[in-house]
Symmetry: C2
Subunit: 205 residues, 2 copies
DNA sequence: TGTATAAATGAACAGCGTTCAGTAACTTTG
DNA sequence: CAAAGTTACTGAACGCTGTTCATTTATACA
């Protein structure tokens, strides 16, 4: 009979409903203010119900963090059509920063907050992060094969590039650019990314 | 009479005592677990007393953040004796990372946590951070004057370098290097710093 | 329709930052 | 020296938080 199937479906649907409510509340008010009670209220369930679908708040944030990675990967996808490998890496940097500034709460989930990484569900090698990192490593390797990029270890180059764009994003999101005038910050960030690219690239340009 | 002076002195001393207790608790258990009640218990005062000396928890964390900057500046001071400007910048990077890994809680206060920057006491241009940034800018300018460094805007170069070392520190402290084997992380970080230096430097080496 | 099972509730718990009426200690005055 | 005035400190209380679990409600099966 189809009752078991329907129940299973409803379970999945409510779980999904909770996650959507959580994502809404989270992006609206941020981590500290996104309480279980607010999420429950938003979807018109009691707080206790949420704990029938998730072991704790960290598990919810881990799921949201996975979805955030989906969004970032979606933003990266169009860059695969860029032929010039150096230009592709440059665009990846700018896309990354734009994502961080446009969707600060999602960026926090992915790369700053501790909570999502404390969830039991996070696997040993952090699959979501690993995937994105390998994507960058591949781009670096292509630029190296075209003899357009520093010939140092591609992993180290990729790490350097990732850490600098993350550093820009994290310092900005956590209010550490107060020594710059607000209006010049975007140009400084963009200039910094381009400086990094210029520094790692060789040959034409 | 000296009574007023003694009282004033005692006030300053208790304030200092609170800050020391707060620093101890904070470095031992971290931000989330460092509660006002624990700090009060440590110094054998009631929680309410702390609020006679600080407007809120943020104000305490802001003071601790200032002291943390003092420590970092102390670690930077010996580097002034290094004559080679490029080597000096390189050592600054390694010193910065060593500080972040050796004193993670202090680093969190200075560059990651939001709380210290929400205090009323933080001035518009974040004097502590600004001072350290200018220190780096000066080093970059000297390397440029010796014609040993990229001739791009020194502020942009300094920002690039700072953001990449901060990125390395922040990603590591917030558990975002899970895709690497724990034992290879220190070498990756060191390699990344050296790659950055190599990339910005020109001429001899 | 009655019983077994599953799902949802919401009060309760311990802990958080913060406040403030009340108490204790100390200083000044008569 | 005692009384009055001032300052310092306390700790219970408030409204939050994440989380648990006995109880209630809704559904499924006999």
């Amino acid at each position: 009979m189809g009752i078991a199937e329907r129940k299973e479906r409803e379970k999945v649907e409510l779980r999904e409903h909770i996650l959507q409510g959580a994502m809404d509340v989270f992006t609206e008010v941020g981590y500290e203010q996104a309480t279980i009670r607010k999420i429950a209220q938003r979807i018109e369930y009691s707080p206790g119900t949420i704990y029938l679908y998730f072991t704790d708040k960290d598990a919810i944030l881990f799921e949201l963090h996975k979805r955030a990675f989906g969004e970032l990967e979606g933003a990266f996808a169009p860059l695969l059509t860029i032929d010039d490998p150096v230009e592709r890496i440059r665009q990846m940097g700018h896309t990354y920063i734009r994502f961080a500034l446009d969707k600060p709460m999602l960026y926090e989930l992915m790369f700053i907050l501790q909570a999502p990484m404390k969830a039991e569900e996070v696997c040993d090698d952090w699959e979501e992060g690993h995937r994105s990192f390998l994507f960058l490593v591949e781009a670096v390797k292509q630029a190296q094969q075209a003899n357009r990029f520093s010939q140092a270890s591609p992993e180290v180059i990729a790490l350097s590039f990732w850490s600098s764009v993350h550093g820009l994003a994290a310092l900005y999101l956590r209010d550490r650019f107060k020594m710059f005038a607000e209006e010049e910050v975007p140009q400084l960030i963009a200039g910094s990314i381009d400086a990094m690219i210029h520094c790692f690239s060789r040959g034409a340009d």
